[in-house]
C-alpha cells in the first residue's frame, strides 16, 4: 500500500466520527470534580482534563481478538506475575469462548492484561478520577450524586451483583456522555487501582498501622454517604495487579488526539 493511501485511510478513520458518532469512544469534556477520595485541600475540586472513554466495557469477543494477535496474553502463556491461575478460566480453551457470551463483558482479566489490551488500542486504563467523574452522571446530569433516587438505583444493582451469567454489554441506559454500563454490569479496573488507599472511617486515628502510609497524611473518604462508589474503591484497593475475578472487567480511555493504531 502506498504511503499516500495509508495516510488517506488514517485520515478517513479520524474523520469518520464527524459523519455519525464514534461507535467505540465517547468524548468526555473536562471539568472540576469533587472525588470521594481526598486528593487535595478539603472543599477544593480536582481538575479532570478532557478524555475519551469506551462506551461499553470490553467484551469477551473483543478480548479474544486481542489474545489472537497477542499470543503472550493467551491463557497458559501469561506468567503468573501478570495474571493469576483463574485468568480467562471461563473460556473453554485459550482461543475458544465456549459458553461464555461473545457480547458479555470480559472478566477474569488482571490489571496487567487489561492495561496491555488498552495499550494495544492506543489507549490506557482510565484513572480512578476519570472513572468516578463519568460514574457520577445519569442520563441527563453530569453530577447526579446528590439525588437520593440515583443512589438508590445504583445501590440496588450492587446488592444484586454476583449471581447468574453476566448480561451482554450495552443493555443499560446511556449516561449524558453516551457511556453505558458504568453501573449495573461489572466492576472495572482503573489505571491507578493501587493509589486508592482509603481510611473510610476515623477508627484508624492513632493506629500505628497508619504509618504504612507515608507522606502528607493518609487519604480519607470525604463523601461517606456514597457507599456505592466507596465499595468500588475498597474492592479495587484490596486487589493485587495479577488478580482476576468473575465480576471484574474493564474499559479503556485515551487522551484527546490519540489515534487508533
Amino acid at each position: 500500500m502506498s504511503r499516500g493511501l495509508a495516510l488517506l485511510l488514517v485520515l478517513a478513520a479520524g474523520i469518520a466520527p464527524a459523519a455519525g458518532r464514534d461507535a467505540i469512544w465517547a468524548e468526555v469534556p473536562g471539568g472540576g470534580f469533587s472525588s470521594v477520595l481526598a486528593l487535595g485541600q478539603p472543599g477544593v475540586e480536582s481538575r479532570v482534563e478532557a478524555f475519551a472513554l469506551m462506551r461499553r466495557p470490553v467484551s469477551n469477543a473483543q478480548f479474544l481478538e486481542f489474545v489472537r494477535t497477542h499470543p503472550d496474553w493467551q491463557r497458559g502463556a501469561t506468567p503468573e506475575v501478570f495474571a493469576d491461575g483463574q485468568y480467562l478460566s471461563h473460556w473453554t480453551q485459550p482461543l475458544d469462548l465456549g459458553e461464555a457470551g461473545a457480547n458479555a463483558p470480559v472478566t477474569r482479566v488482571s490489571w496487567f492484561a487489561a492495561s496491555a489490551y488498552c495499550e494495544a488500542q492506543g489507549g490506557r486504563l482510565p484513572t480512578w478520577l476519570e472513572w468516578e467523574y463519568v460514574a457520577a452522571s445519569d442520563e441527563t446530569r453530569r453530577d447526579a450524586r446528590q439525588d437520593p433516587a440515583w443512589r438508590e438505583r445504583i445501590l440496588g444493582w450492587y446488592s444484586r451483583t454476583g449471581g447468574s451469567a453476566l448480561p451482554e454489554v450495552g443493555q443499560t441506559p446511556e449516561n449524558i456522555y453516551g457511556v453505558q454500563d458504568v453501573h449495573g454490569l461489572v466492576w472495572e479496573w482503573v489505571e491507578d487501582f493501587n493509589a486508592l488507599m482509603i481510611s473510610a472511617d476515623n477508627r484508624e486515628q492513632g493506629d500505628p498501622d497508619l504509618l504504612r502510609f507515608c507522606g502528607a497524611g493518609s487519604l480519607s473518604a470525604s463523601d461517606r454517604d456514597n457507599y456505592a462508589i466507596l465499595m468500588r474503591t475498597a474492592m479495587l484497593s484490596a486487589l493485587r495487579a495479577n488478580a482476576t475475578t468473575r465480576n471484574l472487567g474493564f474499559r479503556c480511555a485515551r487522551d484527546p488526539g490519540a489515534a487508533s493504531p
Binding site: L39, V81, A195, M197, G215, A216, S237
Partner: protein
C-alpha cells in the same frame, strides 16, 4: 588484527551484550518473578539498568521518595535494622534496592545525596528511579500503593519485600518502628542460607 579493529569489535560486542541483557534473563525467570516486569531504572551514579538485572542475589526491595520527611527515613532505618539483625557473612550477601515513586524530583544527584546523608553501604545498596512510564507497573508488582497528591507530595504504603535471586517475593513487612518483624528476619536468614 589491528588495534582499531579490535577496539571496534570489543565495543560492538559490549553493545550487543548490553542490548541483549535486559531480554535474555526474563525467559529463564519463574512465572511469578517480579523481574519479569519490563522496567528501566537509573541509579544514583546515573547508571541505567533493567529491573531484571537485579536478579541473581537476595534483595530487600522497597519504594520511597527522597522528599518525604517523616516515614521514609523510618523506612530506610527499618531496612538497616533488618540488616543489623544479621551476622556479617549474611549481611555481605544481602542487597538492597530502594525505588523512588517520585522519578521527576528524585534525580541521580538527589538520590546520591540521600545515600550519603543516610550513610548507606553503597556496595550493597542501590537507590534508583524508574522510567515514569514503568512506575505504576513496578508498584503493582511489588504491592506498593501510592498516590501523588495535588500539592506534589505523595501518599504511599511502606512495604519492604524480601525477594529471592529469581525474583520471587518470599516475605513482606510493613512494620516501621521498633524491633524488626522476627518472622521477616527469619525469612531473610533462610533466603540467604539457600544455595
Amino acid at each position: 588484527m589491528n588495534r582499531f579493529l579490535a577496539t571496534l569489535l570489543a565495543t560492538a560486542l559490549a553493545l550487543l551484550a548490553l542490548l541483549a541483557a535486559p531480554r535474555a534473563p526474563a525467559e529463564e525467570l519463574p512465572g511469578d518473578s517480579v523481574y519479569r516486569i519490563p522496567a528501566r531504572l537509573t541509579d544514583s551514579t546515573d547508571r541505567e539498568f533493567h529491573f531484571a538485572e537485579a536478579a541473581g542475589q537476595v534483595r530487600l526491595v522497597s519504594m520511597f521518595y527522597a522528599n518525604c520527611g517523616y516515614v521514609c527515613p523510618m523506612l530506610i532505618e527499618q531496612v538497616r535494622r533488618v540488616e543489623s539483625s544479621l551476622d556479617d557473612a549474611e549481611r555481605a550477601r544481602l542487597r538492597v534496592l530502594m525505588i523512588s515513586i517520585d522519578p521527576e524530583r528524585d534525580t541521580p544527584e538527589v538520590l546520591a545525596a540521600l545515600a550519603a546523608r543516610r550513610k548507606v553501604d553503597a556496595a550493597r545498596w542501590t537507590l534508583a528511579r524508574p522510567a515514569p512510564d514503568d512506575l505504576r507497573k513496578l508498584a503493582a508488582a511489588l504491592d506498593v500503593q501510592y498516590r501523588k497528591l495535588d500539592d506534589g507530595e505523595f501518599n504511599h504504603s511502606s512495604v519492604i519485600s524480601l525477594i529471592d535471586a529469581q525474583g520471587r517475593v518470599l516475605a513482606r513487612t510493613s512494620r516501621l518502628s521498633g524491633a524488626p518483624d522476627a518472622e521477616f528476619v527469619a525469612a531473610v536468614r533462610k533466603a540467604l542460607a539457600a544455595p
